[in-house]
Symmetry: C2
Subunit: 505 residues, 2 copies
């Protein structure tokens, strides 16, 4: 089919222009709400053109900097390109781009790291300033002027609803069979006018399959034909495999104890190789008729559908490898009744996450012996990516599981430390910690009981005696045995790493 | 009326016995779910008798220790008495008793500090072990055998539903006009069987006015006539007054900006004198038809009802002064259509808190320059009280405000520090920080912007230059300018206090 046929409505077709023309409609100081979530469904052409415009303008002494709001992470040609030319004044709510990260950590770019379920609400509340432009990729425009969402939904509804001006990219690379896979809920409101979200199972459809946007708000429509950023899939290594096996054993025990059904409960799985290893294990495990209520559909989730283990997955975006994308695009129609893509305010909504009883599985950077978790910062100061949706799921879910290899940097860093250098998930929100060494079920334990269990089960043997020594001395240090700390040593592992390149003494 | 007439059902009346007889039915190792929330509605007689039994038994070489679960804090004759005789093996989910606190910090008692909205769910999930006994105060028993709840609801529904054996205390001191004030929602379930909670306004009644319990589970009924622990009300001091004024100015500005309606949004107010000062200010402020969706009804809330400013308050318990209790008990019937008392799993429920758009105002111990908040620990190790419901409201509410005087201990302690010694509310969950010095609105700010604002607006002038110096040097220290820290100094204010008795250099 012709790329042009993706724009079946005349009022939108009239706005067709080049990426360069569209980029020229974005001005200095604009807040721009862009599509994009984990490298899926982000605009492919206008950001690059905008980066060029920014460079040209800077050369004439007229710097252009924008506020850039997205769903979550995007891709090098968006986050990377705009950060590289210093075009971003403020970035939110999540990024994972190396260039952006470097700019943020150098102090050249402001970054607000926000719970992904909170973003829509914050913008509706006008807490973050005015939204000037929405720049959103869609898979097509229907004859009626409805927008067929792309491979992620993210905050697109909010951007389209609230922006003064809208720029659309219509990407003919996206499968047309995405049509009907989305569920856009238009029932949200600001308090005091909110009502219950009528969703009681992961596969429920409570909205419409299209995004809405009045044509007269649209200032430009740009045609593209470009793939999403692909995330290479790595087969689980031995460490990830051991972590996954511990999780599977735990699920088995919980089912035996009658605490969760044999279909488990809706799964949420963070992005990464370790969560993917858990999904791979589930493919061969004893649990059937699984469901998922999660942010992102990774390769492992697609494989679970293919194997018949997973009945339905609700998410807000894909994050697939090239192989998996090909498989998906060739069979999108078959996946349509097993996949629902929602706005991130619904995929991560506290109300729904609590109601469904989601089992949250997220990666972390480090945990301390009391079960506080750091998901975002290296050595307290440097941002890595961001909290993403992990807080939405960990706080309000049924079971909150955090996973990591017990060491990093060839054993120089212990992922279990006396005190984390930054807290994203407090002791109150962490039920289970898993490393390749073992699994620590922290439910029903006091802080010092938790500490002993985490040291015994999760710490790497090289670090276990030093952690035990810390705990023992903290118990004797005298200022309180509820959460015993030796404060002037609590962060010494991190400072030692900064000084010597290793946490080892 | 005779005390006896409070027990109008014969099957229950048959179980009448003494507190000593009832206490004898609680054995070593039992997990006991007790009523009680902020010193209201706790059992008055059996715990004291149990403490005596524990002492006698210990003297014969047979120690008795129980797991003690409540709604929240209770009173000296419960928490204090049982802790004093070392009768509590494990305490949850909240305490504020000096004897308990000392035992926990000495390492003689295990304590799990839990989000109050999570407790019911955790017990239903059987995460905490089996519930052997429920020990619940009620205001009466109807001819049909329904239980008239007392001055708090807490987790009583869960205890009565799940315990093997039930002991009731019928307290004739409680007003009979409490009848009809409660709303006990029996629609909760375990996933995957949960449905939306049909509550869309603070005053909605979605349940029944009584607690249910089959008479054949009841092993003892004890009559009491004893007042709740009263919380003396202190008129706001100058510091509290200044904090309250800052909050009022902020509300006024938010209303002017159209971000919240002039009726505000449902208020949640933590316990304490500073929150009470805010409530007192509201009494004379420009906002009418206020509502509250909160945990606890303090004097200030009652005064807001009396003054006609507050239309309705939903809570799970009272926490009144003697004067206010008298006023309430004499006029309980008149308050009945303005007060709804609910189980704490509903008063603090993430789904409802998010839907209603609650404005959360909670006290704290300290905040750091990046907006992380410590609500629970002194110098990292010692527990003070617990997180209570602050996390339920701060995470899922519309606006999350934390308040504290800028110094403590006659100026030896700064409530604004480089890094908090314990995190209960992360940077992601804290919108506004207020001290008597000023108010820092942190929304839409990156970490280092937040730091500058908190130092400028909230820190005490004596500590401001030192904090500024810390931030400036952290910006230069080089390991990352997203959340710049000098890690080996980050907790030095706390260690200095432990060594010298002051955070001042």
């Amino acid at each position: 089919m012709k790329a042009g046929s993706r724009i079946a409505n005349a009022a939108f077709a009239k706005k067709l222009c080049t990426a360069e023309d569209a980029a020229a409609m974005i001005g200095n100081g604009d807040n721009v709400g862009m599509s994009g979530f984990t490298g899926a469904g982000y605009p492919k052409a206008v950001p690059t053109a905008l980066a060029e415009r920014i460079t040209a303008s800077a050369n004439t002494g007229n710097p252009i900097r924008i506020g850039m709001w997205t769903g979550a992470s995007t891709a090098p040609e968006l986050d990377g390109a705009l950060a590289a030319v210093d075009g971003i004044e403020l970035r939110l709510p999540y990024q994972s781009d190396p260039v952006s990260r470097a700019k943020i950590n150098a102090g050249h770019m402001e970054y607000i790291d926000v719970h992904l379920s909170h973003v829509g609400q914050m913008v509706w509340q006008n807490f973050l300033g005015h939204l000037d432009v929405a720049l959103v990729e869609v898979a097509g425009i229907t004859p009626d002027g409805d927008l067929i969402p792309s491979s992620s939904v993210g905050n697109n509804k909010t951007w389209l609803d609230l922006a003064d001006r809208v720029i659309l990219e219509v990407n003919s690379w996206q499968s047309q069979d995405l049509t009907g896979m989305h569920d856009i809920y238009y029932g949200t409101a600001l308090p005091p006018n909110r009502v219950p979200i009528p969703l009681v199972a992961p596969g429920d459809r409570i909205g419409v399959p299209y995004l809405r946007c009045p044509a007269d708000k649209v200032i430009a429509v740009v045609q593209t034909h470009a793939p999403d950023r692909n995330t290479p899939f790595k087969a689980p290594d031995a460490t990830s495999q051991r972590i996954a096996d511990h999780v599977m054993d735990f699920f088995g025990a919980e089912v035996s104890l009658g605490r969760i059904p044999s279909t488990l409960l809706p799964l949420q799985s963070g992005v990464g190789n370790v969560p993917n290893a858990v999904l791979a294990d589930l493919q061969h495990g004893p649990f059937d008729h699984l469901t998922a209520y999660t942010e992102v559909i990774q390769d492992g989730m697609l494989a679970l559908i293919d194997s018949g283990k997973l009945d339905v997955v609700s998410a807000t975006a894909f994050s697939l490898s090239s192989d998996a994308v090909e498989r998906f695009n060739s069979n999108a129609r078959d996946y349509r009744d097993k996949i629902v893509l929602r706005p991130q305010e619904i995929s991560n909504h506290p109300e729904v996450v609590r109601r469904l009883g989601v089992i949250a599985m997220n990666s972390m950077i480090e945990a301390d012996i009391y079960g506080n978790v750091n998901s975002t910062h290296l050595m307290g100061s440097q941002i890595m990516n961001g909290i993403g949706g992990s807080g939405d799921f960990a706080r309000n879910g049924y079971l909150s599981i955090f996973i990591t290899p017990s060491t990093a940097k060839d054993g120089a860093i212990s992922a279990i430390v006396p005190m984390v250098s930054h807290v994203d998930h407090t002791e109150h929100d962490v039920d289970v910690i898993v490393t390749e060494q073992g699994l620590a079920d922290l439910r029903g334990l006091s802080p010092k009981q938790r500490a002993q269990r985490i040291i015994d089960r999760c710490a790497h043997p090289d670090f276990r005696p030093v952690l035990q020594d810390y705990l023992d001395r903290a118990m004797q240090s005298g200022y309180g045995r509820h959460t015993p700390h030796v404060l002037d040593e609590a962060l010494s592992w991190h400072t030692r790493y900064l000084t010597t390149g290793t946490m080892r003494a």
